[in-house]
């Protein structure tokens, strides 16, 4: 099911998160098995922490716990581009 059998990289995870969650910005670190992702996205606004983390896990589906052995997540809601922070 995994897109590839090659080891996951922080760069791959970052791109997939940013592609999978509209407007998301991700910073991902990791060693190929254990990763830490700090993600901010407008989509997180108004969601509980659990729901925010689920959006991130959903990007990877069954790969979490398997190809991506562990994925630690911190999420932040950010204002969408159209909303101006004045």
């Amino acid at each position: 099911m995994a897109a590839t059998d090659a080891p996951a990289t922080p760069e791959e995870l970052k791109q997939r998160i940013e592609t999978g969650i509209p407007g998301a910005t991700a910073t991902v670190t990791g060693d190929g098995h254990h990763f830490n992702a700090v993600v901010s996205a407008p989509a997180f606004q108004g969601l509980s922490r659990i729901a925010q983390h689920r959006l991130v896990y959903d990007v990877f589906g069954a790969e979490v716990g398997d190809r991506i052995h562990a994925l630690s997540i911190q999420t932040k809601a950010k204002a969408s581009e159209t909303e101006n922070i004045a």
């Binding site: 689920r54 562990a70 630690s72 911190q74």
Partner: protein, 133 residues
Amino acid sequence: MSDDQTTQIREAIQSAISENPVILFMKGTPDQPMCGFSARTVAILQSVGTPFAAVNILPDPRIRQELSTLSNWPTIPQLFIDGEFVGGCDIVTEMYESGELQTALGVEDANDGEPAPEPAAQEPAPLTIENRL
């Protein structure tokens, strides 16, 4: 045939969650965690000083499978308070640091407004559920 066992496991998980006000599904046991994230979550619960039940998910892969189906959460550990899924290690850590966890566990109001001294080295007394799953 294995369907029956899977149903049994699911029901055992559900009743464990509803019967224990605070229950942690983890890899290993509180005394011998088998994963850093489980260890960290146990340490947080112990420092808060709340008794909690713990279930080791490692003995049978179906425990984790059924648990994750139930909670819609892919990773271990998973903490439930009063029958509600609270989160994994990251969320529990954030909630601990912000004080939300203490509030959810009802340990903050224990002293009438008196700022409770840190229960630093209080002997934790976690219950461990026998895995009969």
